[in-house]
């Protein structure tokens, strides 16, 4: 008997379910859950996915153990390389490098704007400098589908308005993206994946709407830990639990160090 799936395994399984065959995707070194979700999708229903890890494009289908790397430049991933990723070339044709992109934030607001720049003091000055925008501003503009991924969920992260915008979601809501002509490659973030549940933006003003709660989490708990009011889908359901085959694959080939357990 295999033990039940953990919260992070449920999130990874959900991410694998939203990824499609042929998707091109960059797998970051330190986002364990999206990494596991992408690798799981690739090893199950998406053998034609194009996955880049660190600085290489990979063929992972023959790899029996997909050890994680601590650093995005770890050269040892080159044993899976079929092509080098020359970093500046990504930005010569960003729309062909990422069909799907995951964006994170120190703050995320109800309209899906994300902030990696910093936190303001009550006086409006920069009080805490964040890691910076990395590639998120540009890749979220060009990706066909983009998602927000939050490794933790609290009212300090999910705020009414972000202090700075590093990646534009739906701005102030409504048709703000259209006004700025930002819908050339995608029409804004599709969903928000957190340790508590899954949100989409299927509301008239494009504010967040809770659509799934993970096993063992209540709607009340999410409400208490979110800094704004959000809509709740009429057909809200519990997030699907990985089946036994998926869980075995996750544990034996994808998450071999047990980071998600």
């Amino acid at each position: 008997m295999i033990e039940r799936a953990t919260n992070q395994e449920i999130q990874a399984f959900y991410i694998s379910s939203i990824l499609q065959d042929n998707d091109r995707l960059f797998v970051g070194a330190n986002l364990h859950v999206p990494r596991a979700g992408a690798l799981l999708a690739h090893l199950t229903h998406a053998p034609n996915m194009k996955l880049s890890i660190g600085m290489v494009s990979t063929n992972l289908l023959y790899a029996d153990r997909l050890e994680p790397t601590k650093f995005s430049t770890d050269y040892r991933v080159s044993r899976w390389a079929e092509c080098m990723v020359i970093h500046d070339e990504i930005f010569q044709r960003p729309q062909y490098c990422s069909d799907v992109f995951f964006v994170g934030g120190m703050q995320i607001d109800r309209f899906g704007n994300t902030n990696l720049i910093g936190i303001k003091s009550p006086e409006g000055n920069l009080a805490v400098r964040g890691p910076g925008s990395l590639g998120t501003t540009t890749m979220a503009h060009y990706a066909k589908r983009y998602y927000i991924y939050a490794p933790s969920h609290s009212a300090n992260i999910f705020v009414e308005r972000v202090d700075y915008i590093s990646t534009f979601g739906y701005g102030q809501g409504g048709d703000h993206r259209c006004q700025l002509n930002l819908n050339q490659f995608n029409e804004g973030p599709l969903e928000v994946i957190t340790p508590l549940g899954i949100f989409d933006f299927n509301t008239p003003d494009h504010s967040m709407r809770l659509k799934h709660v993970h096993s063992g989490v209540s709607v009340e708990y999410i409400t208490t830990n979110t800094g704004f009011e959000f809509a709740i889908a009429e057909d809200i359901t519990e997030t699907a639990i990985p089946d036994a085959d998926a869980l075995l694959l996750l544990r034996e080939r994808v998450d071999v160090e047990g980071t998600l357990r």
């Binding site: 430049t73 080159s78 020359i86 720049i117 964040g130 890691p131 002509n181």
Partner: protein, 311 residues
């Protein structure tokens, strides 16, 4: 000199190999200096320590699209006036460089706010000799408010809002490669990150190299030549330490943790441990050999085991 290549009238092909000191002597306060590598790999650290030792001031430092703590050390040493990069980080070891964070929060240096796409637009403009490159991503974000040098404008073709990203044209670009010959041909093991782009954008490129190899060896695999015709080549074994050099050595995590610890103490107001660190690793070693002796053979041998399973 059997290795020299003679033309018919007896003139030789001029080598561009030089010394670290000679390159450091060319640098002046206020210059715009770019540093290659990426994140926790391949930063030209012998040059970075040399700049700290020389006491340069008011530099505009251009990192890689995502910089490592190479820039953080330069900020901590007081060399920097403005920093151009999307992030100064050591990933899991420090999501934000301590001195970068302190300087950003106190406003003591200018931050050319950008993401990687905007960064390369500026670098590309310089390579093309244009005053700016247009870019779309960033419209509606705080980046255009924080970085006053980005100029939103109306596209003359579509009438839409775009950003004019001004060219950044480094006076010198330093980076570290695994192999180079004495005519300025450099070969990275692995992707070479964004080094080609910064090479194209810079007035002068200087590479430090793990190994100096023959032109014959370069010609065995010309497809690998990632930096063609650097202006100068300096052989610096272990030149990226404490960062990794692909296929040669791994990240020295313990070293970086020690740096982050003393830098964080300095950020909180007590610079004494950082001063000792600087003395020990930057000021006392006179040569690269001295620096490596400070680190010790066992440490280097361990880091050089690049076959160790991915961890």
């Amino acid at each position: 000199m059997p290795n020299n290549l003679y033309s018919q009238n007896g003139r030789i092909r001029a080598p561009v190999t030089t010394t670290l000191q000679e390159e450091l002597d060319r640098l002046e306060d206020g210059m715009t200096i770019a540093f290659g590598g990426f994140n926790t790999a391949s930063h030209p650290m012998a040059v970075v320590r040399g700049i700290v030792k020389k006491g340069l001031r008011n530099l505009t430092v251009v990192g890689s699209a995502i910089s490592g703590l190479d820039l953080d050390l330069l900020i901590g040493a007081g060399a920097v006036n403005e920093v151009v990069t999307s992030s100064v980080t050591a990933e899991v070891l420090a999501s934000v460089g301590p001195f970068y964070r302190e300087a950003a929060e106190s406003g003591s240096i200018d931050i050319w706010e950008c993401d990687e796409g905007i960064f390369y637009a500026a670098i590309r403009a310089a390579g093309q000799g244009l005053p700016f490159n247009p870019w779309k991503a960033g419209i509606g974000t705080s980046i255009v408010e924080l970085n006053k040098k980005l100029v939103p404008f109306t596209c003359p073709v579509t009438g839409q809002q775009l950003i004019a990203v001004p060219a950044i044209n480094p006076d010198v670009f330093f980076t570290h490669v695994e192999r180079a010959d004495r005519y300025g041909l450099g070969q990275h093991t692995g992707s070479g990150y964004g080094d080609r782009a910064i090479h194209r954008a810079s007035k002068r490129t200087v590479i430090t190299t793990e190994a100096l190899i023959s032109n014959e060896e370069i010609r065995r695999n010309p497809l690998m030549t990632s930096i063609a015709y650097a202006d100068a080549v300096v052989r610096v074994p272990w030149g990226a330490h404490p960062f990794s050099s692909p296929g040669c050595y791994r990240v020295d995590e313990e070293f970086i943790k020690e740096y982050v610890s003393v830098a964080n103490q300095a950020r909180k107001g007590d610079r004494s441990a950082f001063a000792e660190w600087l003395q020990h690793y930057v000021f006392e070693p006179e040569t690269q050999a001295d620096y490596l002796e400070t680190l010790g053979q066992q440490r280097l041998l361990d880091l050089g085991d690049v076959t160790e399973a991915i961890s």
